[in-house]
């Protein structure tokens, strides 16, 4: 099958959805050609569809989201780009108090089918305000859906599903995965929101990882297979909400052991919620305590050595697996 970079897969999804549906339009900062977005995800789109449907905004994160929301109320399907996940802090009212709640507060009158694309994660020595993994902020808010793709295939299919979804979707891309290459079929397909993917089947232990950490979990699985003979199952929830608990619990009922991995700080992280879900749904099946592999509870430091220390790596996931298997 043809291979694309994750960035190209997203770009193709945007091209296809804009082609198929005149209600879809984009807005965000620096998204026009020749720049095509900070991570070049929107490259070519303003040239192809014009600057009416690919709308360059000033730097008002609250207004980017509010504008998307207002247009959605009139039946449009906006895709808003917030350059970095950290900057959603500027738009929290519009996301949390407005977009997430309008359907509810209006008793079902209002629909807010918006997608907020944004880039999270560390790895570029961008320090504490440009590197965070804030997904737990959004999974905590009823009314939002939260998507974190890890592969080019998923990125394209999930973005298309998110654009067609009737609810507000926070679509969090990891900035270190834009250059990941992988198979992407030509043409239209979607990856439904709320369906997890078993990225590697196994029988001894389940590793549930999100976003970039899925790729590291897969490496860790190969390493412990080689070095310890463990057969690891890696599950990628793909959407943190709606969450496919059935696939996750089925895996744990099979393996009886689990490690939860994410890049966000451990305290208050989404992994804690997942762990509770596992305990509620599969406690009797567990043969060992669950281990969380996550960042320590600090901001992200600048210096690459310190940054690498903070972000969970393959060795830490391997250690987590060994701890549970011991």
């Amino acid at each position: 099958m043809r291979e694309l970079l994750l960035r190209e897969a997203l770009n193709e999804a945007l091209h296809e959805e804009m082609d198929a549906d005149p209600r879809v339009f984009l807005l965000g900062e620096d998204i026009l050609d020749p720049w095509g977005g900070t991570f070049r995800v929107t490259e070519g789109l303003s040239t192809r569809f014009g600057t009416e449907r690919v709308r360059e905004t000033p730097i008002p994160e609250a207004a980017i989201v509010g504008c998307a929301l207002g247009a959605a109320l009139l039946g449009m399907r906006p895709v808003a780009e917030i350059m970095l996940l950290d900057f959603t802090a500027m738009a929290m009212d519009q996301i949390v108090n407005q977009a997430a709640k309008l359907r509810y507060m209006t008793g079902g009158q209002a629909s807010v089918p918006i997608v907020i694309r944004t880039a999270g994660g560390a790895g570029r020595a961008s320090a504490a305000q440009h590197s965070q993994s804030l997904e737990a902020w959004f999974t905590h808010v009823p009314g939002l859906k939260v998507v974190m793709p890890s592969t080019p295939y998923d990125a394209k299919g999930l973005l298309k599903a998110a654009i067609r979804d009737p609810d507000p979707v926070i679509f969090i891309e990891h900035k270190m995965t834009y250059g990941v290459r992988g198979p992407v079929p030509e043409g239209d397909y979607t990856v439904p929101l709320g369906v997890a993917d078993v990225k590697r089947p196994g029988t001894d232990i389940t590793v549930i990882a999100t976003s970039r950490q899925v790729l590291r979990a897969l490496e860790a699985a190969e390493r412990v297979a080689r070095e310890d003979g463990y057969d690891v199952e890696v599950v990628d929830p793909r959407t943190l909400y709606p969450l496919d608990t059935r696939t996750i619990l089925a895996s744990i009922k099979k393996t009886h052991r689990a490690v939860v991995v994410h890049e966000a700080p451990k305290r208050g992280g989404w992994g804690g919620e997942l762990l509770s879900t596992i305990v509620e749904g599969a406690f009797d099946y567990l043969d060992a305590p669950i281990v969380r592999v996550a960042a320590p509870n600090t901001p992200i430091p600048f210096a690459p050595e310190m940054e690498r220390y903070i972000v969970p790596d393959v060795a830490e996931i391997v250690a987590g697996i060994r701890q549970v298997m011991a």
Binding site: Q98, A110, Y241
Partner: protein, 361 residues
């Protein structure tokens, strides 16, 4: 993918409850009439509907019949009414926490708003929103809002949608003097100006934000001057003169319809009551003289005077409008009280439009 306009779901909101045998739209919740005399009488009736509704709900709150935060629009009726006098049914308004007047002026049914304040199923939001989130999407009333200034970016989004669809609809964004000092106000105004969107920004300057006088919040008392900073026309109008409001808005809206972009209008007005009914502190510290001076500028007798003076209406006609409005208020209370409460489990509905079968709420 469907290319045609998505129909925003409204069916659910009009499903009748127990009181639903009556016709869906009440007599007075109707588009602004076309003739000049009819329009003037519509303004008179609309201001009275707002006044009597908001006075009556204060009593109902006192009697413990309705709960929550209720923000009275009494004294400011000329703004919503003058603004909506030149809007079409397919135009949009974006409202504030003080939204009852905006809804009624946009053609809202008093009884469905009353039912909402009672938290009943026949309310516009099925009891999920209450006063602070009163919304009627089918009337183009895109929502009151509990967050100061939040409507400004939302209005630019409605304007963007209109722009992309290429229609000649317009949006009016209401906000208070308190909203002009919050970030998203600036973000939204600049965006609307930069994109030349069909949005008229109407600042209801009632001199207070919650309890505090405007002079403690901003150096510049004339808020319309801020429009210059965005490169759009800024106008000021006597917000207690419904005809003056209607005139400036007509001009602004006409400019927007023909592609001329946004306008900022500051309507100088005054709210007679405290910030919210459940907020006794809000009545503290206001000057009695100030209140009396503004009551002397009551917009409703002012219009009545104009109508009588010019022979547009007789005292008898105005009296009968008042009687009808009072009847409408009482009928809306009866409607609300006859409407059932939603089952508590209805609290679990309307969080999402769609969830996959495997997901739990």
């Amino acid at each position: 993918m469907p290319a045609q306009q998505e129909v925003i779901q409204v069916a659910a909101a009009t499903e009748p409850g127990a009181a639903g045998e009556q016709p869906v739209v009440s007599q007075y919740a109707a588009p602004v009439p076309a003739g000049e005399r009819e329009r003037l009488l519509w303004m008179y009736r609309t201001m009275l509907r707002i006044r009597e509704f908001d006075e009556r709900i204060v009593q109902l709150f006192g009697e413990g019949k309705i709960a929550g935060a209720l923000h009275s629009y009494v004294g400011e009726e000329a703004v919503a009414t003058g603004v909506c006098a030149h809007l079409r049914p397919d135009d949009y308004v974006v409202s504030t926490h003080r939204g009852h007047g905006h809804l009624l002026a946009k053609g809202g049914e008093m009884r469905r708003m009353m039912a909402e304040l009672y938290g009943r199923v026949d309310g516009y939001c099925r009891g999920k929103g209450g006063s602070m989130h009163i919304t009627a999407v089918e009337l183009g009333m895109l929502g009151a809002n509990g967050i100061v200034g939040a409507g400004v970016p939302i209005a630019t989004g409605a304007g963007t949608a209109i722009h992309l669809k290429g229609t000649d609809q317009v949006v009016v964004c209401f906000f208070g003097d308190g909203a002009v000092n919050i970030g998203p106000f600036h973000e939204g105004l600049n965006l609307a100006a930069t994109w030349n969107l069909p949005v008229t920004f109407v600042c209801e300057n009632n001199l207070y934000a919650q309890f505090t006088p405007q002079r403690l919040h901003a150096k510049l008392p004339d808020l319309y001057l801020r429009a210059q900073g965005y490169g759009i026309p800024g106008l000021v109008v006597d917000g207690n003169d419904v005809l003056a409001v209607a005139d400036v808005v007509q001009e602004a809206v006409a400019r927007s319809r023909s592609g001329g972009g946004p306008t900022f209008i500051e309507a100088k007005t005054y709210r007679w009551h405290g910030h919210a009914v459940n907020n006794p502190a809000s009545a503290v510290g206001r000057d009695e003289r100030e209140i009396a001076d503004w009551k002397a500028k009551d917009p409703i007798p002012r219009l009545a005077h104009h109508l009588l003076e010019r022979g547009i209406a007789t005292a008898l006609e105005l009296d009968s409008i008042r009687d009808e409005v009072l009847q409408e208020v009482e009928a809306s209370i009866a409607f609300a009280e006859a409407s059932p409460s939603a089952p508590p489990e209805a609290a679990l509905e309307h969080v999402y439009a769609h969830l996959p079968p495997r997901a739990d709420l």
